[in-house]
Symmetry: C2
Subunit: 336 residues, 2 copies
């Protein structure tokens, strides 16, 4: 059937929805059975560990269709999962997609979402091998499962930080939250050229950085930043049973973010610490392994990696700036 | 903190929710990293294929909290996924759980759900190795990913049926739909002793049957019955490019279901063909492989396996009874 821009998923029906997704898929030779059967059948990797993660985006919680284009929703749904693989030092291998669709969802939105999802899957060479579609009386929910591989004993766990380790972060912090603030402020077309807006709409999971940190045995612990730097530091410190001291002046904050917050009269440091959705990697390095980190950096390319603080004894989480030392702000709490 | 029967998930917060789930988990030795990190790390099975499936239950679509106890919701969320593995002839190995929770969900319901889920996981020796929790402004959504194993070239695909193959089904058809009808009719306590109600609330995925069909190379195709026998036949016929002819008199319908529909003045045949949620296996066998089926049956135990029809040339899907031959009714369509 032909669809107009207002056609809903309920009007085309389940089979047509599935076909709109699966007609675009190509399976690699290690996939024995792809989408369309009760389950997918794949040949597991030899000599490697498997890395498994699942994460969901919910309309109205993780994105707002008013200013997030459909393809960016699909991109982000996959990117947040790929970022979890990156934080383990894993290489993406395959993905599963489970959609809960409101009957009124427009087919054009579904198509855009799938387009963004599959482009991101192709960028990471992780084929969509299976999935599920159901209707929901509530908001659109996009649940993704991502499967990756890592060499035995090379996974980057969050529990390995020790007092004296140095703390690093990839890229910049607070860009995505600044991008979201720009979008919420209602700016129109020109904002798509904002690097901060792009960081929010289409985060690039740091797979290459995670792989190289794992390959070189450079990191003693690692997490990805989904709910902000303060939250990431808290997770890492709790899992490792340590404290942290962060140098506010060292935080990698982009010129655009600084300028925007200065103009808006808001606090760039607060955004750098508390702003979510950056999907950068936060990791620690033993001082004696700085050489390994140099080795990893040579292979990571031009992604900035910045030393932002040090792991401490005890459980204190503090940030130091010109005016002294204070406690880390609380991160985003999903249920409060 | 202490919780009363009215405490909500929003009141205890994300970290406490996660701890309520993970404190009960034990990991087998092939799990390097379990829940609590960015992703799980597992040793893949050697010499086997991996089977991957994902499926979601949505409150108000797949269950009604008015008459489905919390532990049954958790049981069913996992069982529908294990059933997909069973339909491939696979053995369950590990599961992931992704929950979208309304802020107002009571902790008591969450606890019950987790209890039912983990009991079913233990029954199938499939540890919960990872997951995710998010809030939602909409209904409770339980998304599960199940991972299993099957020997190379032994997966039961749905596309292998050929004209002349015999069609079989495990257990009984229509029991779960009858159980749902009994629950909807508002019966109280005594109904928990109804086998039909139990079939609806706590379906038992036919893992052993699937494994033995796979092991003996007995089935030319297989699907599980989630949306009714007619829907299963349609899926199998479409994937295999064949038709089917079903003998209405041969359908395994329980005495309880027959009696209930006779009393209620409803049509048991319609329920047997169209009623969903049975999670039985529907499969085909080449006539020359009847001996293999006998071999499988000896190992399956006392689960009934009934021949219900034959695969035909062409695309007709028909059911024959005393009054003649007619087309199969349409199955449940999620989006219409």
């Amino acid at each position: 059937m032909t669809t107009s821009s207002n056609t809903t998923v309920a009007e085309i029906g389940e089979q047509a929805i599935i076909e709109r997704i699966t007609r675009r898929l190509e399976m690699p030779d290690w996939v024995d059975v792809g989408p369309g059967d009760d389950a997918a059948v794949v040949k597991p990797p030899r000599g490697l560990r498997e890395v498994l993660t699942t994460d969901a985006l919910v309309d109205g919680v993780h994105f707002d269709q008013a200013f997030v284009p459909a393809d960016a929703i699909g991109h982000r749904a996959l990117a947040v999962n790929i970022s979890d693989l990156a934080a383990m030092g894993a290489e993406p291998r395959a993905v599963l997609l489970s959609l809960a669709l409101p009957a009124t969802l427009r087919v054009a939105v579904l198509d855009g979402l799938i387009e963004g999802f599959l482009r991101q899957a192709a960028a990471h060479r992780a084929p969509l091998v299976g999935g599920n579609i159901t209707r929901t009386p509530g908001p659109l929910v996009i649940n993704v499962t991502a499967i990756g591989t890592v060499r035995p004993r090379r996974a980057l766990e969050r529990s390995g930080a020790r007092p004296g380790d140095e703390i690093y972060v990839t890229g910049a912090v607070g860009d995505a939250a600044t991008g979201l603030a720009i979008l919420r402020a209602g700016a129109t077309a020109p904002t798509v050229e904002s690097a901060c807006v792009l960081r929010y709409l289409r985060p690039e999971p740091r797979v290459r950085a995670g792989l190289q940190l794992s390959h070189h045995g450079a990191a003693s612990s690692c997490v990805d930043l989904s709910d902000g730097l303060a939250d990431g530091l808290r997770q890492l410190a709790r899992a490792s049973g340590v404290g942290v001291e962060i140098d506010a002046g060292a935080l990698p904050v982009s010129d655009e973010a600084r300028a925007w917050h200065t103009t808006a009269g808001t606090d760039w440091l607060e955004t750098a610490l508390g702003g979510g959705d950056d999907y950068e990697l936060l990791f620690t390095v033993r001082p004696r392994h700085r050489g390994r980190l140099r080795g990893a950096r040579r292979r990571i390319g031009d992604l900035p990696i910045t030393r932002i603080g040090v792991v401490t004894r005890g459980a204190d989480l503090s940030v130091r700036d010109a005016s002294g030392c204070r406690g880390l702000p609380h991160g985003f709490e999903h249920f409060r």
